[in-house]
């Protein structure tokens, strides 16, 4: 399905409920009524084209944003990515940690395996956090400064040497190890979670929810890096070209 502005947002969510957290990141919480995406964007002052390209990227792995859709400012993209980071770090990960804690409390058997899984996840979180920190501390400020410099460059002849030293290309490092760790976390739970007695139903339930959350997080993160690669990086590469041409 190609999501377009004339569709009702509620129907789009019915079709693909994975989009709920995405919509949420645009400050459109549930209970948004019966409007089309276009109407809701206008009411809430959301950039329609940007929302559409994010929704489509999330919804369809084959989707590739067209050039005319990249007309929105880079600051909007950065703002979105930043919100997504907050969502992972402040909501999703604590939620998963809480579930692991619950498993500890519910488990009646040997805690060794749970300990190992829990440590593994904590290490993953540290690695993920430092990855996010780097983007927040280096990459995003650079993008925003570059955009600002482009805006002002018609007035000022001055070129910021600092901006020329960096390039978004260096940022295209691989997220691979972080992604693989999350995959391993799922494998460990699916295959090697310790057996509890059959009537420990709560343990079973929490471990199912835990696994489901890991799948959801993984999907969200995959789309997140696709948004970085397909929308942010090409956008900034264009800006870099434009800035250098002023030299």
């Amino acid at each position: 399905m190609l999501i377009v502005g004339e569709m009702k947002l509620a129907e789009v969510i019915h079709h693909d409920y994975n989009l709920v957290p995405v919509v949420n990141r645009f400050n459109i919480p549930l209970g948004f009524g019966d409007g089309t995406i276009k109407q809701i964007c206008a009411e809430r002052n959301v950039n329609l084209e940007f929302l559409l390209s994010i929704l489509n990227t999330f919804h369809d792995p084959q989707y590739f944003p067209k050039d005319h859709l990249k007309s929105f400012p880079a600051s909007i993209i950065v703002n979105y990515l930043h919100k997504a980071h907050t969502y992972y770090l402040d909501e999703k990960i604590p939620q998963i940690k809480q579930m692991i804690k619950q498993l500890f409390e519910l488990s009646e058997g040997n805690k060794k395996t749970l300990n190992l899984i829990s440590n593994f996840f904590n290490n993953y979180c540290k690695e993920f956090e430092s990855h996010v920190d780097r983007e927040e501390a280096e990459v995003y400020p650079y993008v925003l400064a570059l955009e600002e410099a482009l805006k002002n460059s018609s007035k000022e002849k001055h070129i910021n040497e600092e901006l020329l030293k960096y390039s978004i290309g260096t940022y295209e490092e691989d997220h691979e190890d972080v992604e693989e760790k999350l995959f391993d976390m799922k494998s460990l739970i699916i295959k090697y979670l310790p057996l509890e007695s059959a009537d420990n139903k709560l343990f079973e339930e929490v471990s199912y929810s835990l696994l489901r959350e890991l799948f959801v997080l993984e999907k969200d993160l995959n789309e997140h890096s696709r948004i970085e690669d397909l929308i942010l990086v090409p956008k900034v590469e264009g800006m870099e070209k434009q800035y250098k041409s002023k030299l």
């Binding site: 060794k112 190992l116 391993d184 976390m185 460990l188 090697y192």
Partner: protein
């Protein structure tokens, strides 16, 4: 997951392509690597270059090149060819395919045929799960102690290539990709002791 049986498709028609892709996704262990158009330049060389296990070919997409390309492909013993065949497909073309996906067949039959072509033996063998071999266990122990592939190779007098093959198989069998994940597995199953890990 690692690919197990790699499939390439030669099909110009988007609708048909999507249909074949859907079938392939239904069988675990099969992976669709790439789709080619029938009129691409040097199609035969491109296909051979990929070392495919299976190629699914639509004779209509190949047009006049059909005979020349199919004859060459059939000389490659390691590659299986599946033909997408229409009811009105001429006998001299149909008979070229040992395995077929007929247009008019239902889903069940199509999946059966696809599985036949892959060879259930091959799928089972490649999918083999479960316990690690003795050799793999030895290598797993060294890897989780933090040794690099090269160090493991030196220590066990193996070539780095052999070590990498073992590591691939370990990952395939366990479904664990990272060293720290492997460490958790090894500790869980008492393959190593916590004191052995640096």
């Amino acid at each position: 997951m690692e690919s197990v049986v790699s499939i390439y498709i030669v099909e110009n028609n988007f609708l048909l392509r999507s249909g074949i892709e859907g079938l392939i996704q239904e069988i675990p262990g099969l992976i669709l690597k790439e789709v080619f158009e029938g009129n691409e330049k040097n199609l035969y060389e491109k296909l051979i270059d990929k070392k495919p296990d299976i190629i699914i070919v639509d004779p209509n997409s190949l047009g006049d090149n059909f005979i020349s390309i199919i004859s060459k492909l059939q000389d490659e013993a390691d590659i299986k060819i599946i033909g997408l065949t229409r009811e009105d497909c001429p006998e001299n073309i149909c008979s070229r395919f040992k395995y077929q996906l007929p247009y008019e067949a239902n889903k069940h039959i199509l999946l059966e045929n696809l599985r036949d072509a892959c060879g259930s033996d091959a799928l089972l063998k490649k999918n083999k799960q479960g316990s690690l071999s003795k050799r793999e266990l030895v290598i797993l122990k060294e890897v989780v102690k933090g040794l690099t592939n090269q160090e493991v190779a030196d220590k066990l007098f193996l070539s780095i290539h052999t070590v990498m093959t073992h590591r691939k198989n370990i990952t395939k069998k366990l479904g664990i990709k990272t060293v720290s994940g492997l460490m958790v597995y090894a500790l869980m199953n008492n393959i190593i002791d916590i004191n052995e890990v640096g």
